[in-house]
């Protein structure tokens, strides 16, 4: 079996999406708490707290600088954790995937449905964070609203990254490796809380090459400030291209794991 065979899909992928949405809506109150609360805490502690020592950063106030980062981080976290811990529990502990593939759905469709749901979760969370940040007046409207459709695309990227790790993790504890070796450094070093340009040049290139969050942050920052440049197209192309490759790879890795 090759790692890059393009999966055969049907609109049944949405059945899996629908299942996950139903579960999500059962506990929507607690699910909506993190995206509401987290940006407020970060804005006060970092934006207005640490930020009181910073007059201006790249031509803007510090809360303005970190606001798009907070949206980007919520896009990253919601899809990544949904498609790592969430999918792992459904795959291994609840045997949900086994139950579904006994129906006309294929494993490719199950995994694609999971990825689409991960992306949807990013969209839901990013929208809520966006509203909080808008309430603080830290965002240009209406251009900032473009973040909503963009969060689905960026969320899909983090979903595919998460699913690749889920497919190769021997047990659920092993998911700590990508979380702490990849997600946490990315959270700090992707132009989130300080400009990427402060880092040594080789590390800047490294971040642009392999840390997806850097591209997401630059696009979201441009959208919140209504300040566009052609370079953003490169970031967007990077996101789309890597998503496609990792989508195909994650589906095939999961197929290899589950279709024995």
């Amino acid at each position: 079996m090759t790692h890059f065979a393009f999966p055969r899909l049907s609109n049944r992928v949405w059945k899996v999406w629908h299942r996950n949405k139903d579960v999500f809506m059962k506990t929507y109150k607690v699910n909506f708490l993190p995206p509401l609360l987290e940006p407020i805490l970060y804005l006060f502690a970092l934006g207005f707290g640490v930020g009181s020592f910073i007059d201006v950063i790249e031509g803007m106030s510090y809360p303005q600088f970190i606001a798009p980062a907070l949206i980007s981080i919520s896009i990253m976290n919601s899809a990544f954790f949904e498609c790592t811990y969430g999918s792992y529990v459904r795959m291994y502990y609840q045997k949900t995937f086994d139950a579904i593939i006994a129906t006309p759905l294929s494993i490719e469709e199950v995994i694609t449905g999971e990825l689409l749901w991960g992306a949807t979760r990013s969209l839901i969370y990013a929208t809520i964070v966006l509203m909080v940040i808008a309430a603080f007046g830290l965002i240009e409207l209406p251009s900032g609203l473009l973040i909503i459709p963009f969060s689905f695309i960026a969320g899909f990227l983090f979903a595919t990254i998460g699913m690749c790790f889920t497919a190769i993790s021997p047990n659920i504890n092993a998911l700590s490796y990508p979380t702490f070796l990849f997600i946490t450094p990315m959270f700090l070093f992707s132009g989130t809380f300080f400009p990427l340009s402060l880092l040594p040049e080789p590390i800047q290139y490294f971040a642009l090459a392999v840390l997806p969050l850097t591209h997401v942050v630059s696009i979201v920052r441009a959208l919140t400030l209504a300040n566009f440049s052609v370079v953003l197209l490169v970031s967007f192309a990077w996101i789309v291209l890597v998503s496609l490759v990792l989508f195909v790879l994650s589906v095939n890795l999961m197929k290899r794991r589950l279709m024995v």
Partner: protein, 253 residues
């Protein structure tokens, strides 16, 4: 003139499954006809579950031929799976949902229209006697109730072939008898049933025909009473005596 050629429900020829070096199913051939209850018996690790999974199109075969309703398992997974109901060995009910929602969510995977699904679910809840548990979460069900719900779930698409992998595993006699009654009633409705079991009594009661597997091979095939007659040494012999005689008393795992 209409010529109807009856295709067997399952036809396996030299069917083989290998996991690396290990041969789990070693060139088995068998045929299951429409409307019969066909049993797979054998010690743990004999290859029964692997065979079931190949029939269900969730485990690709390594070699040989396997057709379900005349369709190849490697090429027509989706079409075959539409016609199947599966009761897996492990309980894989959805713990995030109630009894009713488990059935409703499952019906969507088969593209069953909501109105029809609601009607079928009502019937199935009565059939497996779980009406009062409709709004109960899965973790609050007893082992017997879970197995009954899985049976109901397997019937949601009114399957033509029902595959049961150890349907009564871990159940008390009452719960077991209830499942057996349900299976008999399904058989009388003309559904083809394939099951695996360790319980020889279960096989003797339910199966029209059965095979005994060991080390990935089919060692005998026949009707339960014929097998007893053929292989038993005493008058009062049971299928269990035949089983132990053929597969030996050595522990397998």
């Amino acid at each position: 003139m209409v010529v109807t050629v009856t295709v067997p429900v399952i036809e396996a020829e030299d069917l083989k499954k290998q996991f690396g070096e290990f041969v789990a199913v070693d060139s088995v051939s068998f045929t299951v006809e429409e409307g019969e209850v066909f049993g797979f018996l054998g010690p743990n690790g004999a290859g029964k579950t692997t065979t079931m999974k190949m029939i269900q199109c969730v485990s690709p075969k390594t070699g040989g031929k396997l057709e379900v309703f005349g369709m190849g398992v490697s090429t027509h997974q989706c079409e075959i799976k539409k016609l199947l109901g599966v009761v897996p060995q492990e309980n894989n009910l959805d713990p995030d949902f109630t009894v009713y929602d488990n059935l409703m969510v499952y019906s969507r995977y088969f593209d069953i229209h909501r109105a029809r699904a609601e009607r079928v679910i009502e019937e199935l809840l009565d059939f497996v006697q779980l009406r009062e548990k409709k709004d109960t979460l899965i973790e609050q069900l007893s082992g017997g109730m879970k197995r009954r719900l899985i049976l109901a779930r397997a019937l949601i698409n009114t399957p033509r072939l029902l595959i049961l992998d150890e349907p009564t595993i871990g159940l008390d006699p009452q719960a077991r008898h209830l499942i057996w009654d349900k299976l008999k009633s399904l058989q009388s409705q003309g559904i083809t049933i394939v099951l695996t079991t360790h319980y020889l009594e279960e096989a003797a009661r339910l199966c029209d025909r059965l095979v005994i597997m060991d080390y990935g091979k089919i060692i005998v095939e026949g009707k339960p009473d014929e097998l007893i007659k053929e292989y038993a040494e005493t008058q009062s012999a049971t299928l269990e005596d035949v089983f132990l005689k053929l597969t030996g008393k050595k522990l397998r795992e």
